[in-house]
């Protein structure tokens, strides 16, 4: 099977800019993609990126701040965001809150820095608040871009995102039958971080879905939980050890596949999608809500093990994990916890532990 060609971030940014669009850099995790698109602003997400020299960021951030935030700031400081017109830092945890604040108060980039407070908990109040917050973001975008998309345009982009979410869900549902390696599969999933929705939909359409070797015999279904699969070498190690990532509970992937909104008001509809989306530690849901979702995912996919792939110093994940592990173990699902720094290669010790974990699962089969 020939490898699928996925355009790089750089290529996409150049193309979007040359078509007259502005580009926005978006820090993790939750935000309404559709709002930016309605303004002809192309959102490109900044999850680190990995492999950045964090020396420049460490002049502003203590060593106990996670590598996603360290890299994110360093990337800006070394000129990685020169091409963008504006920066959005959603408020998803204390460290991202600090990043947004340092940007506004001390780093003061040439571009506009916008923030978006994501409410905690799933209530009517959260939806109402986020709706107001998105409306405020609309006004900021209107000021920065000089555009003011009408309701129809907003709804058009919302429906397009909802359609894309449905396609992603479908792609996940067929995971067991795809001949793609875990890394190939997640390269496609994560391309959504920077591809326009129509290009992304095309990518999903051309991605191979069926294989005579689907559901490889002898391979153990694994779910990866955490923020992001970086370094992505973890996926190769799982495959090489005889595992198979059947689904994920990752903040940059499955936790952002939102459902359809119901409201006629576009701001409320965008808010509904985020608030009522899959559980995520940073949204502060109950332990029950998160564990029901995770155990449900293991049951639906037949996964035998869950790897908690944790970015060091990520408090939201650190708090929930002990309870989630207990709940999973009570259901007979084995778990493994690995700690990662997105700027460091996977340690030999981590590789050995993944191999031993999958060996153990295979032995129990």
């Amino acid at each position: 099977m020939p490898p699928i060609k996925i355009p790089s971030r750089k290529e996409v940014i150049q193309r979007e800019k040359s078509s007259g669009k502005d580009v926005a850099a978006i820090y993790p995790i939750h935000y309404p993609r559709e709002l930016f698109r309605a303004f002809d602003v192309h959102p490109v997400e900044v999850w680190g990126p990995p492999g950045v020299d964090t020396k420049m960021g460490s002049a502003h951030l203590q060593s106990y701040i996670c590598s996603v935030v360290q890299s994110g700031l360093s990337f800006y400081l070394e000129g990685g965001l020169k091409e963008v017109k504006l920066i959005l830092v959603p408020h998803c945890c204390d460290s991202l809150q600090g990043l947004g604040s340092i940007f506004k108060d001390f780093v003061k980039p040439g571009q506009e820095v916008l923030t978006l407070y994501i409410p905690r908990g799933i209530t009517e109040e959260s939806v109402r608040f986020l709706s107001d917050e998105i409306e405020k973001l609309y006004k900021s975008l209107a000021r920065v871009t000089g555009r003011a998309p009408a309701r129809e345009r907003l709804m058009e982009e919302i429906l397009l995102e909802e359609e894309t979410d449905a396609l992603v869900k479908d792609f996940y549902a067929g995971r067991k039958k795809t001949p793609l390696s875990s890394r190939e599969f997640y390269a496609i999933i994560r391309a959504r971080e920077y591809l326009p929705p129509r290009d992304y939909a095309r990518l999903l359409q051309i991605a191979p879905r069926q294989s005579p070797e689907s559901g490889p015999p002898g391979r153990v279904g694994i779910i990866v939980s955490g923020l992001l699969p970086e370094p992505m070498e973890i996926l190769d190690v799982i495959d090489e050890a005889g595992g198979f990532v059947v689904a994920d509970d990752l903040a940059c992937c499955m936790r952002r596949v939102y459902g359809k909104g119901a409201a006629e008001n576009p701001f409320k509809r965008m808010a509904e999608r985020i608030v009522q989306g899959p559980p995520d530690s940073t949204k502060g849901g109950s332990v029950d809500e998160i564990s029901v979702s995770l155990t449900g995912l293991t049951e639906a996919t037949g996964a035998r093990g869950v790897i908690f792939y944790n970015v060091k110093f990520c408090e939201p994940e650190d708090f929930y994990r002990p309870m989630l592990k207990k709940r999973l173990q009570n259901k007979g699902i084995k778990t493994l916890t690995l700690e990662a720094d997105i700027n460091q290669p996977l340690s030999q010790q981590a590789i050995t532990r993944v191999r031993a974990f999958i060996e153990m699962l295979k032995g129990e089969a």
């Binding site: 502003h60 106990y64 701040i65 600090g98 905690r120 908990g121 109402r128 708090f319």
Partner: protein, 441 residues
């Protein structure tokens, strides 16, 4: 069971316990003695109000031992809007204060390790680890903590408390009220305040349901009045340090802030701070400074290092350095003017959205700058607290701004508010020495 609890509460707490504690207080006031090893050569004696501080804390935790089944019990975060619960007659416990007490008594590490053994990362907040450790093991220096009937978590101090209280809610299987306060990067938006107000209003019904009584708004106003008065008196105590020499140190403030945190809304707390202010004023009149031979005056930023308070106090006083103001202790008084007794819920929404910890890094720098000016300070110690990310992020820029743009020597001191494993004593001493030299240069 209810009657047994009532009898125990009445006899062991109300009658015997309170009498014993009050007697101890009177005794320690009559036969006042300096704590063992007190450095009289460099430090003024501890405030005599300390006997009452101890009394209030002892009574509070003693009541906690017998309160289950007698009063509804709520566990709350330190910045939570407790006035509604107080007006409904709840006994209120602050796990953060309990954590600080464990830190000051040097048992926090042992208790935290109970949580770590259960899988909680050493990277999460050490207050949370201490609290979860107590929940799992029952270990506490106060004998026993009451089980909560309700949890109230307000995100105005950090997001960490939300995850922590989710763990508690799951462990104790009790309702959790979340008051989510949007972070204020510059100024709060109208929709932020309305969101907080709506959550406060919704919290009333849940709190009433558990308390089994309706909220009396007249009583709520009385509680808000007591909160406001106590916070105002606390602020006056702190402001007395604008005088030279400073009558109390920040280390004294850390010890005597317990009532403003955990007994806010009680009339006895107002009396306590009125008495404390009177004692401070007597020191001012007599020219008594907390640090004898005060030569330099500095600011403390961030939480205390609970397990090294005396060590730091002495290490600095040896050089004639008085730590006279703190962004942390100031936070419990600076919002008093926002509280409006006639519009309790509306004003609570605003007051509890605006604590320093819920505001941007630039606001904190401006607060530090204005305190440096108001208190005539020569330097600043910024405690880079690995357990408190929201307070610590921004300190590296704030330090440089103070140093380069204001010419204020500023030290970044790496530690953790409750976990001694993150504190290197010798390194701290040599850094403090270098900092003093920098101020003297």
């Amino acid at each position: 069971m209810g009657l047994v609890n009532q009898i125990k509460y009445l006899t062991l707490y109300k009658i015997i316990g309170t009498a014993v504690i009050s007697r101890q207080t009177r005794k320690s006031l009559r036969h006042y003695r300096l704590p063992r090893g007190w450095r009289e050569d460099i430090l003024a004696p501890p405030l005599r109000i300390g006997a009452y501080t101890q009394q209030m804390i002892a009574k509070h935790y003693l009541e906690g031992r017998y309160v289950n089944g007698v009063k509804p019990v709520a566990w709350v975060t330190s910045g939570a809007p407790i006035e509604i619960l107080k007006a409904l007659g709840y006994y209120i416990l602050y796990p953060e204060n309990h954590g600080a007490l464990c830190g000051a008594r040097k048992v926090a590490q042992e208790i935290s390790e109970e949580a770590e053994r259960d899988g909680y990362s050493i990277d999460i907040c050490s207050y949370a680890r201490t609290d979860i450790g107590t929940a799992l093991s029952g270990k506490t220096p106060v004998g026993k903590l009451p089980k909560p009937d309700l949890l109230l978590c307000c995100t105005n101090i950090c997001q960490t408390v939300l995850y922590w209280y989710r763990v508690l809610a799951d462990y104790y299987e009790v309702p959790l009220i979340v008051i989510d306060t949007p972070f204020v990067y510059e100024e709060a938006n109208d929709h932020d305040i309305k969101y907080v107000k709506r959550q406060l209003e919704s919290s009333i019904e849940v709190s009433e349901g558990i308390a089994g009584r309706s909220l009396n708004f007249k009583r709520l106003k009385e509680v808000v009045r007591a909160s406001k008065d106590a916070a105002d008196l606390w602020l006056q105590c702190l402001k007395a340090n604008r005088r030279k020499p400073a009558p109390i140190s920040v280390f004294d403030q850390f010890i005597h802030m317990a009532p403003i945190v955990e007994k806010r809304g009680d009339p006895e707390t107002v009396d306590f701070y009125a008495r404390m202010l009177a004692e401070i004023n007597r020191r001012v009149e007599n020219g008594v400074g907390a640090v004898k031979h005060e030569r330099k005056r500095v600011l403390w930023d961030n939480l205390p290092i609970w397990y090294r308070i005396r060590f730091l106090s002495e290490s600095l006083a040896e050089h004639g350095v008085a730590v006279v103001a703190s962004t942390y202790t100031n936070a419990w008084g600076e919002l008093a003017p926002l509280m409006d007794v006639e519009r309790p819920v509306e004003s609570m929404a605003k007051t509890y959205t605006y604590p320093i910890l819920n505001r941007g890094t630039g606001h904190k720098l401006r607060t530090m700058e204005s305190m440096i000016k108001a208190y005539s300070l020569n330097g600043a110690i910024l405690h880079s607290d690995r357990s408190c990310k929201p307070y610590s992020i921004g300190q590296m820029d704030q330090r440089l701004k103070l140093l380069n743009e204001r010419g204020i020597p500023a030290l970044l001191l790496e530690a953790d508010h409750n976990d001694p494993r993150a504190f290197a004593g010798e390194q701290a001493v040599s850094r403090l020495k270098a900092f003093v030299e920098m101020m003297e240069a």
